[in-house]
Symmetry: C2
């Protein structure tokens, strides 16, 4: 059986090399702070749904190097005193984070890891791996939820997922608004409602489509959904589904739905609806699948296709078209001193010091459309500045300013249990409702302002100036 356990070796080699150097230089105990943030919103969208915190904290609470990890490090000739140190390695740091499910924007610190240099360095790769991916998928799911309204969205993606990445994808999809998954492993692990229909192979394996439908209705009359496009949707699939649905009625049973999986879904769903209604089967729902994404769903609903349930696979679980959120993990402070990467361009420079994010809330309680990155301890700012274009600033005295980062882990232990997947999804839904529509549209969404406080700007500019001297 292939199995994967995320241990200390779930990392890039250089984290261990750097760890060893800092250990031998006796700097591994230095107090540091690292920021997690991203620069670019996937799919040219207007926002990102932050996801993965629960899994990250679960991992950090028990992270260690297994015996195999240690043996491998010895074989790779890492320094033996350093390896001995890793035998007892545990993550004992503090984590600040925005809530899982929060709506977040480029450049704002979303998570801050405080701890010794060694522990903060060793968790970099796994933190990025989990948060980048789950946030990507939650964001993608959220875009589909946005256009699907109250219709049912179900994840059908495991077969096209990136290996076991599919397990996290099915979970993250729920945070973004999906209601169920075909992925039994994820359904079990994360307590997600499982859903599914039937395969073409089931239909072709019987002597006729009618016989296949009858067999299914006989054995699984509850939750029965017929796949109707194996031979010909309108000439064979729907007529046969109607025959069996009427037979089921005589048994006091109800066919739940038919599934369209090829052809023009707008046309076929309208024809299907009419045929079902004509047969008195108004209660039978229509499921549509086949290369769906948020744009196709939007288009189908604009055409008023009478589809009740969308089954989405590849584009959901792989986060197409982008495949990755570009989140990074950058040193902000060490030994109490603010640190930054200075780059030829301000955009690639990082923001020094330990920071907080203040979200501007208007008098309706909605997001105004600006976050201020401030130094830890600044509770209210009156002016915010564009992070990269000097001279652009904005008065924000009138807004409620909501701090987003809170401590979620102390000494390597969560300070409260995870809210659970349903509560996280609900929180995300409520927060997204506070974001004005112009940030949610797909085409050239309005750009949410990420800004910095005067104090942070002064700190950054001072460090750049001192480096240039």
């Amino acid at each position: 059986m292939l199995s994967f356990s995320i241990s200390g070796s779930y990392t890039d080699l250089y984290e261990l090399s750097i760890g060893e150097v800092n250990f031998l230089e006796n700097r591994h105990q230095s107090a540091v702070a690292f920021d997690y943030f991203f620069r670019k919103i996937p799919a040219r969208g207007g926002y990102v749904v932050f996801a993965g915190l629960t899994d990250l904290l679960d991992i950090l609470e028990t992270l260690h190097f297994t015996k195999e990890d240690i043996d491998w490090l010895r074989w790779q000739k890492f320094n033996s005193t350093f390896i001995d140190h890793l035998v007892d390695f545990r993550f004992r740091g503090r984590i600040w984070s925005v809530p899982e499910g929060e709506i977040v924007f480029p450049h704002c610190p979303i998570v801050r890891v405080e701890g010794t240099w060694l522990e903060a360095q060793l968790v970099e790769t796994l933190l990025l791996n989990i948060l980048n991916f789950e946030s990507l998928i939650a964001t993608k799911a959220s875009r589909m939820r946005y256009v699907a309204g109250d219709r049912i969205l179900s994840d059908f993606g495991l077969r096209r997922a990136q290996g076991p990445g599919g397990i996290l994808a099915s979970k993250a999809a729920v945070i973004g608004g999906f209601g169920s998954t075909s992925n039994v492993y994820a359904a079990q692990l994360y307590d997600i409602p499982a859903s599914g229909t039937m395969a073409h192979a089931f239909v072709t394996g019987y002597e006729s489509e009618l016989e296949a439908f009858r067999a299914f209705a006989r054995s699984r009359p509850e939750g029965c959904v017929f796949l109707v496009d194996t031979y010909n949707t309108l000439q064979s699939g729907i007529p046969n589904a109607i025959i069996v649905a009427k037979e089921m009625e005589k048994q006091g049973q109800k066919l739940v739905a038919v599934r369209l999986d090829s052809g023009d879904l707008a046309y076929l769903s309208r024809k299907t609806r009419a045929m079902l209604d004509e047969a008195g089967l108004q209660y039978v729902k229509i499921v549509a699948s086949n290369q769906l994404d948020e744009h196709v769903i939007k288009s189908l609903l604009e055409q008023q296709a009478p589809i009740d349930i969308f089954g989405v696979g590849t584009s959901l679980v792989t986060g197409a078209p982008d495949g990755a959120l570009d989140g990074v993990y950058k040193l902000a402070e060490s030994d109490g001193k603010p640190r930054m990467k200075i780059s030829e361009t301000l955009q690639k420079a990082t923001l020094p010091g330990t920071k907080q994010v203040l979200r501007m809330i208007d008098d309706q309680g909605h997001f105004f459309g600006a976050d201020a990155i401030v130094l830890q301890g600044e509770e209210h700012v009156s002016v915010i500045h564009h992070p990269f274009e000097p001279g652009k600033s904005l008065q924000v005295t009138g807004f409620k300013q909501e701090p987003l980062l809170k401590v979620v882990m102390e000494n390597g232990k969560r300070i409260a249990p995870s809210p659970g997947l349903t509560a996280i999804a609900q929180y995300s839904k409520e927060r997204l409702a506070l974001l004005p529509a112009e940030y949610k549209r797909f085409e050239y969404p309005h750009i949410y302002k990420t800004s910095i406080s005067q104090q942070l700007m002064d700190l950054r500019n001072g460090l750049i100036a001192s480096h240039k001297m």
Copy 2:
């Protein structure tokens, strides 16, 4: 610790629903054959590298339902006799496959699963999940290897990978031609050379870049690579690297390389090479990273950028721009009868019966550019037909015709040990060398002909005709 073990529940729900229906209909023991094939080559390329077979067979040899799986099925109210049957479920089927690492083309069966309907159905999702993903990444890696020639390619992708999908990605990259990985977990699990350099945070964590380099050289003088773009590549990074490299020389040590991670890599690598050479450091290599893919590598080398090692992340491990190979798993036979999905278009119809693939080899030993899908037992064909366009055919009497599908598993056990990752990568390299260049180019590659034999065409057309009556 988050851990994933691929068990019976690593499946779509409908495989279990169908399994239950067939069980209750007493059809679960029917002998069936399913084909795995894909329809579209990712990234508009000319070929696919088949990967994932070793992992698939590893999984199948021990696949079972865990106690948790069984408990969940009971809770989901699956039929209790069926669940009892699943308690003892093992895969006992036969697998035909092309060799792992083989170069493959659309519509050709790559794997055939023969077994009872229940076992063949229950493995569908995991087979697709593993083979689709590993083949996607091996193909992507192979495209980079094709343009990189003999230069070193290293996978740096774990932080941007799709969660634990990154583990399989790092492995599949080796099949496609990568030499090493930064992913320690995959390096350990699959015995891949591990490689890595240093992070910006390491450099910014020291009082100066020079001090950071010196610390690294002191503690890890072997395999030392300096990241030179933290402040300014040409004004700070390279001069400091040269200072420390010269200091290392006095200790009898050699700096291995410098790494460029931002800016114009063609320009910077040329300047860097000149500065290193000027300092007598001809032996110091140049590593380049930062959003590389096969197109960027090709362009850099066309500009004669003196880069020795490419570190590739996101685009490699996520298979960008496509994110998934569209492989499917279709019923070809049951109870000894050929089966097919009949669709409105021939392209979406499947090919019935148990089949073999014959590859046409020219008198130079190269791939001619055509595979013939034939019925099992046909050892040589003289004419091949276009699968979807009636009337298009080709004489192939002059070619050696190499059968690609061989039995690799009998009664649920491999018939030979896996050749191992190195041998698979070597096989793939040798086979790709037999494919003419026009199929390997990135822009509008020549289309490799996938064709069918007269017997297979007759069988298919007969089934379509009988269904239409």
